[in-house]
């Protein structure tokens, strides 16, 4: 378990999904994989390639900016299990973000109002505490947030 601020403990929903903990010299990135034979990029990281069936792959950190390809909202609490969000339900949005040259990734969006979302909008990766465990630990997952400051810009990938 890692503490990112002085008051609350946080932990990622799963290991190997995104870089953790975020630090100044290692900012948050999704951890994908790249097929060593055909170059197909996958997320989450996959040992086997669904294009060429190669079993050789290497880790690849994905771009942290992209554009919103489509979206929807979640206005009712999903069935639990598998959902383990808080009992007090707050609607959220989900979408696919196109990371150019890499892939389209499905993620929660920080903006729940569909009127404030639009296809083609610039989006930036972030982390959100989506639920709190009984011991007070916040569980963190990845999400994308509207990125009004960097419309259309793309970072080079590692």
């Amino acid at each position: 378990m890692t503490t990112t601020d002085a008051t609350r403990a946080q932990q990622p929903v799963a290991d190997g999904l995104f870089t953790w903990p975020p630090t100044a010299d290692r900012p948050t990135r999704l951890i994908g994989s790249e097929c060593a034979d055909c170059g197909l990029v996958s997320f989450p990281a996959a040992p086997d390639c669904v294009r060429c069936a190669s079993a050789e792959s290497r880790q690849r950190l994905l771009a942290d900016r992209g554009t919103l390809w489509t979206y929807t909202t979640q206005d009712f609490r999903p069935p639990s299990p598998p959902y383990d969000g808080p009992e007090t339900f707050e609607p959220y949005a989900v979408g696919y973000i196109e990371l150019p040259g890499e892939l389209l990734v499905e993620a929660r969006l920080t903006e729940p109002d569909p009127r404030r979302l639009r296809i083609g909008q610039a989006m930036r990766l972030t982390l959100v505490p989506y639920t709190v465990r009984d011991d007070g630990t916040e569980v963190v997952t990845f999400a994308f947030t509207p990125d009004d400051e960097t419309v259309g810009s793309q970072e080079a990938t590692t």
């Binding site: 989450p44 598998p82 989900v94």
Partner: protein, 382 residues
């Protein structure tokens, strides 16, 4: 190769039946289909039976007769019933049997489908964080489709209103209260842009279809319905499909519906222009709209005008989901596609009552789509 024809159809009502096991609903549907075909259970030589909730639906023989026949359980997600009818027809086409049956039955709890993501080969975090809902996919697919092809919210509402109106004329349908497009648009958003009355719900029901060799059909019925083709396809890399944490960037890759549809038309020697009545997977109102184009029945974007003109209503140029579709009937997964075929058979026989489309329909089309990206098409004709 011998051709398979449908000689009997049976449908247990779809809805909620507290205390009635799925196997009992299935047995009722089988008895109706046998009576319709004029055959007895001991004459059936083999069959295929599909269910999501019942682990071994072949146990239905305990209610029908322990005759020792091969009754094979099948499951392909929402395409399960398409698989059951395809294999039952194949058993006749290949000469394995002269008389077969396809059966589907299910009994789902209320609410959105909930499952352990691992059953779909998906990691746990996807479900824990609230991404593992099939309804998301349908909301996101129609949202992008509306953006690209100029489909309005009103058109979504018209589709739902049409299907509830058709269901109101179907004594075996679940949702039989007609709703105006305005009432549909006034219901709460569940997954933008889709609202409560634009979604189908999981429910309960069963259906059965009896098939025989075409050259023996005269022994049973003057109105056999020919199984012209069946096709099943799964998702291809790059297509936007349900339950995909990611998918590759690149050229547009068409959905398995497009692939299954093309294969079925080619096998049948029948084109979309020949289709007189269609049953399309309407998990939601948006899906019916998209599936019109994916099944070749119109071009992308034409739906806006066609639906405004009433083309897909009973009496229109291309009636779609005349029995109310999934919106009106709900989706007991194993039975859903056989319910579609039941309706097409009634329409082609001219016995669909208040729902009967005018003229002399000759070609009927059925289509299923669902997790994990599987589609089944069946083309029938007189």
């Amino acid at each position: 190769m011998t051709e398979a024809v449908i000689i009997g159809v049976g449908l247990h009502p779809f809805g909620r039946f507290p205390g009635k096991p799925a196997l009992d609903m299935g047995a009722d549907a089988v008895r109706l289909a046998l009576a319709d075909a004029g055959v007895k259970w001991p004459q059936i030589q083999g069959g295929y039976i599909g269910s999501y909730e019942v682990a071994n639906p072949d146990a239905i023989v305990g209610r029908l007769g322990l005759t020792g026949i091969p009754l094979r359980g099948v499951f392909n997600g929402c395409a399960t019933a398409g698989t059951a009818i395809a294999l039952a027809a194949r058993a006749i086409e290949t000469g394995e049997h002269d008389l077969t049956i396809a059966i589907g039955l299910d009994k789902h709890p209320r609410g959105a489908f909930a499952a352990d993501p691992s059953v779909a080969g998906i990691p746990s975090w996807y479900g824990q964080t609230g991404l593992f809902l099939t309804t998301h996919f349908f909301g996101m697919k129609i949202n992008r489709y509306m953006h690209e092809h100029g489909i309005s919210h009103e058109t979504l509402a018209r589709v739902a209103s049409k299907n509830f109106g058709n269901a109101a004329m179907n004594e075996k349908a679940w949702r039989r209260t007609p709703l105006t497009p305005e009432e549909v648009l006034a219901s709460p958003v569940l997954n933008y842009p889709l609202r409560q009355y634009m979604y189908c719900g999981p429910d309960e029901g069963a259906a059965a279809i009896v098939l025989c060799r075409a050259d023996q059909a005269h022994k049973y019925t003057p109105t056999p319905v020919r199984v012209r083709s069946t096709a099943l396809r799964s998702r291809k890399l790059g297509a936007f499909e349900v339950q995909s944490p990611s998918f590759p960037v690149g050229e547009v890759v068409e959905s398995p519906t497009v692939d299954a549809s093309r294969a079925a038309y080619e096998l049948a020697g029948i084109g979309p222009e020949d289709v007189d009545v269609a049953q399309l997977q309407d998990t939601d109102a948006g899906s019916e709209i998209i599936h019109m184009a994916e099944n070749g029945l119109c071009k992308d974007g034409e739906q806006e005008r066609l639906i405004a003109e009433g083309a897909t209503e009973i009496g229109g140029r291309l009636p779609v989901n005349t029995d109310g579709g999934l919106l009106g009937n709900g989706e007991p997964i194993g039975a859903s596609g056989l319910r579609q075929i039941h309706e097409i058979v009634l329409q082609l026989r001219g016995t669909a009552g208040a729902r009967q489309i005018p003229g002399t329909p000759r070609v009927g089309y059925t289509h299923l789509y669902g997790a994990p990206g599987a589609s089944a098409v069946t083309i029938l004709s007189t």
